[in-house]
């Protein structure tokens, strides 16, 4: 029997599993001694029960009608199709992978959908596979709760954060979709949880670095959140071991991150050159995407995106921003603000990046901000509650004062519920009842049954419907064609020397009609075709158009 010496000082003993341990910040006079509440999530029944109940609610709201709302997005189709290519063993995409995004995101989607796709290959379409995102949402929501507790929020506030994150109509809509951002959020939340690990274990911090790198390789925009992660890790590590923990995490993150350029290097595609794609070109393209204008400039693209977020929910984006600002302002005085410095910083950075006038603001950008918005909003609410109920309270305070405090608190809470409740109810009612994808399904069914010889038919289709066509027997890549590849991918245009004449059909979904403006071949195909079927009406309609003098006739 051998062992190391027992701890040197009484306060250095290992903390009791359940009891809060005092922070070992030396009372040097300047710094206040804060009690560090250690939450052992797995050993705490109230936490487990609360978390389970909220999780069930989130799963019901997000899962109900998940295939019907919101409308299928082109990007979802892209990622799922590439995940399908990975499953088929066709490499990272069925078209040439051109370093548009790091591939880790759809590799994960491929893994997530592997078993269902193996059992029922036809289920590999966007509507059905949204169910996989339900799993991602669930894990993220639980991680958010754990993180909230690790960032010292009281139980009810952690629950509030989870509700905001999982039930805000904006979150419900976006988290249902097969976006890389949702996966990246999961990894980033895991990184934050590990960074704020109550054990302050060196290898937890190291793992946080790995998780953060995974998040970035899942969706590269997560890069901007890394400073906030670093702040969190700094704050939640111990003075004596901090330098090892933080450098370890940074090293891990950098090394895993370097895996991506290393992959390009090994494939000989790091730097641009004739006849091949390159990582450099991919980055250059992403950095030079035309800006969508200043977000507050009505009429700019960014403003439109901003308005589309507010259309679904105002509470989380606006409330979260205000809360982050509040927390950053009271950093000096509020324990909660210091505990939540990392998430608040994340919100601030993401907000600043969104406000770049020259930047391109995609609709899913807000996804990576959602957990941090939820955390800071819940934190700010907790701060306000604390101020109302406890601030300046002395022992033996008259019952009247206490009564007033509670009245104010309950009035505020009731006001908030009265404001938020109806709006969220309406938003989530739409999300759980409206079927926005009937036209898509009908179009897919038509293409599967009405076309004579799918195997020899060439169709321009948007990414969201592409897999349905592939399942119906169209040749992936050159038979069923992602519509923009007809103009942008040399490997595809090469097979269409006659331009639109070499095609048979166009499935003109809203996306196709919108983007055709900049794509000559697609535009020509739309012009030289007649409508043979139409599903839905107005802007959202899906038309199936047959080319006048397609190959078959000509």
């Amino acid at each position: 029997m051998t062992s190391t010496l027992p701890a040197a000082a009484p306060d250095a003993t290992a903390p009791d599993e359940a009891a809060p341990a005092p922070d070992r910040t030396p009372s040097s006079g300047k710094r206040h001694l804060t009690v560090r509440p250690v939450v052992r999530f797995r050993g705490s029944p109230p936490d487990l029960i609360l978390c389970a109940v909220l999780l069930a609610a989130i799963l019901v709201v997000q899962g109900w009608n998940i295939a019907g709302y919101p409308a299928l997005s082109d990007d979802e189709g892209t990622y799922l199709a590439q995940a399908w290519a990975v499953q088929q063993g066709d490499g990272l995409a069925h078209y040439t992978y051109w370093y548009d995004h790091p591939p880790l995101g759809w590799i994960q989607i491929a893994l997530l959908t592997w078993i269902p796709a193996a059992i029922a290959p036809d289920s590999m379409d966007v509507g059905t596979m949204r169910l996989a995102m339900l799993l991602v949402s669930a894990v993220s929501a639980v991680l958010l709760y754990v993180l909230a507790r690790r960032l010292w929020l009281p139980r009810w506030a952690a629950g509030l954060a989870m509700v905001l994150f999982g039930l805000s109509p904006l979150a419900v809509v976006l988290q249902r979709e097969i976006f890389l951002d949702n996966l990246a959020v999961l990894w980033m939340l895991l990184a934050f949880c590990l960074a704020a690990s109550p054990n302050r274990h060196l290898w937890h911090h190291f793992a946080a670095g790995i998780a953060a790198a995974t998040a970035v390789l899942t969706k590269e925009t997560m890069l901007v959140v890394l400073p906030a992660l670093l702040v969190t890790m700094w704050r939640y590590s111990h003075r004596d071991t901090r330098k090892f923990a933080v450098t370890g995490a940074v090293t891990a993150c950098a090394l895993i991150g370097l895996g991506y350029p290393l992959y390009a290097l090994l494939k000989g595609e790091l730097l641009p050159g004739a006849g091949h794609v390159s990582l450099w070109d991919g980055i250059t393209y992403q950095m030079s995407r035309p800006g969508s204008g200043f977000i507050l400039d009505a009429g700019s693209g960014s403003h439109g995106v901003w308005q589309s977020w507010l259309y679904y929910d105002r509470v989380l984006p606006l409330g979260g921003l205000a809360a982050a600002l509040l927390l950053l302002l009271v950093l000096r005085w509020s324990v909660t603000a210091r505990a939540l410095a990392g998430p608040a910083l994340a919100v601030a950075i993401l907000a600043l990046v969104a406000m770049r006038p020259s930047g391109y603001l995609p609709a899913m950008y807000v996804i990576q901000a959602l957990p941090f918005l939820a955390l800071v909003l819940a934190g700010a609410v907790a701060s306000v509650a604390h101020a109302v109920l406890r601030r300046f309270r002395e022992p033996g305070e008259p019952a009247l004062y206490t009564g007033v405090r509670w009245t104010v608190a309950l009035a505020l809470a009731a006001g908030a519920v009265l404001y938020v409740g109806p709006r969220w109810y309406e938003g989530n009612r739409i999300a759980t009842t409206v079927d926005a994808n009937g036209p898509y399904r009908a179009a897919a069914a038509w293409m599967a049954t009405e076309v004579q010889d799918p195997g020899r038919t060439r169709v321009l289709v948007d990414d969201a419907l592409w897999l349905d066509l592939v399942h119906a027997g169209y040749e992936p890549g050159l038979g069923a064609i992602w519509f923009y590849k007809a103009d942008l991918d040399p490997a595809v245009t090469k097979t269409m020397p006659g331009g639109w004449r070499d095609l048979d059909y166009v499935v003109a979904s809203p996306t196709v009609r919108r983007d055709a403006v900049d794509l000559p071949n697609v535009r020509a195909a739309l012009q030289h075709s007649e409508k043979v079927a139409e599903f839905g009406e107005g802007e959202d309609r899906v038309e199936i158009r047959r080319i006048y003098e397609g190959r078959r006739e000509g």
């Binding site: 029997m1 071991t241 370890g248 290393l262």
Partner: protein, 415 residues
Amino acid sequence: MIAAVSLTLFWMAAFTLWWQMHAWRTPETLAATRFQPPRGGTELTFSLLVPARHEQLVLDHTITRLLESSHADFEILVIVGHDDPGTAGVAARAAARDPRVRVITDTHEVKNKPKALNTALPHCRGDVVGVFDAEDQVHPELLTHVDHAFRSTGADVVQGGVQLINFHSSWYSLRNCLEYFFWFRSRLHLHAQKGFIPLGGNTVFVRTGVLREADGWDQNCLAEDCDLGVRLSSTGKRVVVAYDSDMVTREETPGTLLSLLRQRTRWNQGFLQVYRKQDWHQLPTTAQRLLARYTLMTPFLQAFTGVVIPLNVAIALLLDVPVGIAFITFLPLITAAVTFVFEVVGLHDFGRQYGLRVRLTHYLKLVVGGPFYQLLLAGAAIRAVWRELRGRGEWELTSHVGAHLTHDSREEART
């Protein structure tokens, strides 16, 4: 094939790194590696063995320092060879000055450290036997702390920290110092916790009864310290390790690269001997036996790694291998990079702990010197295997010039 080698190397390096960073795992672990502040006076008596061979330059200073100890009851047994009048003279003069010093003469024809220690063992009167080298600088409070550690933990063995200090001397001394830092500051504590520990050569304290029961040190082993630790822990003796930067025994690195190579060869050969003696087979659990096997093999695995990593990367970059395989060949490089970074941080921490100015050039030396040091280790490992196979088991002693002493006096002059 390459992938298998790479994966093996990766896991080996990962485990080594994991253990090397043991002390910094959590703040609680770090706190537990220190000595407890002594309470309740001193109760045990100590016999301190100081084997000295051709060390007349440093011996007197060492004895003087030892005599300054605050502990109430201890004796110093200086062991000198019958053929070494210089050192014997210094020892005799010290004995004449202070009754607590005694001189034991070792008359073995062929001399080595375990023989010297065994010669003195019957003369020990204390409850606890402690071992120091002739060039060691021992902290005056150390014995009191060790006394308390014995009493508060009921340990059979207490291993104190040993630290090379003269990192500024040369590029290899820098790495050598850091090796000690990671070993005594961190890794040994893990071994103590797991119940398998190769003890250090000095600042090691064993209850006299336990030591006699174990028949002292193995005279034929080149790493008698490691061997003793392995034998004691294999029979379930309780070993406690404590490290306090102000309480460590300060030492110096070997003066030349060649002597470092010799010293390392001797250790490696010693490890090999301990491995072949198979005392560690008696360890109760499989995990412990695995740890023992791995630890004793480490020098050789390390040498192997040093050679294979560059080879692997070259293969991945120059030959046409599938991307997946190429990725795997990079795995050992990742652990090597992480180890490098932790070494840099360790150097910073080392400087902080000992109040030494570590400059940018030192960090550069550390990084640039890494591969060359690997070469040295590989050389020593190969040399050790060669010598063991040829049956050459004599001691190649390292001589000491006292670089750490001069450095220390400079330190004192500055403050």
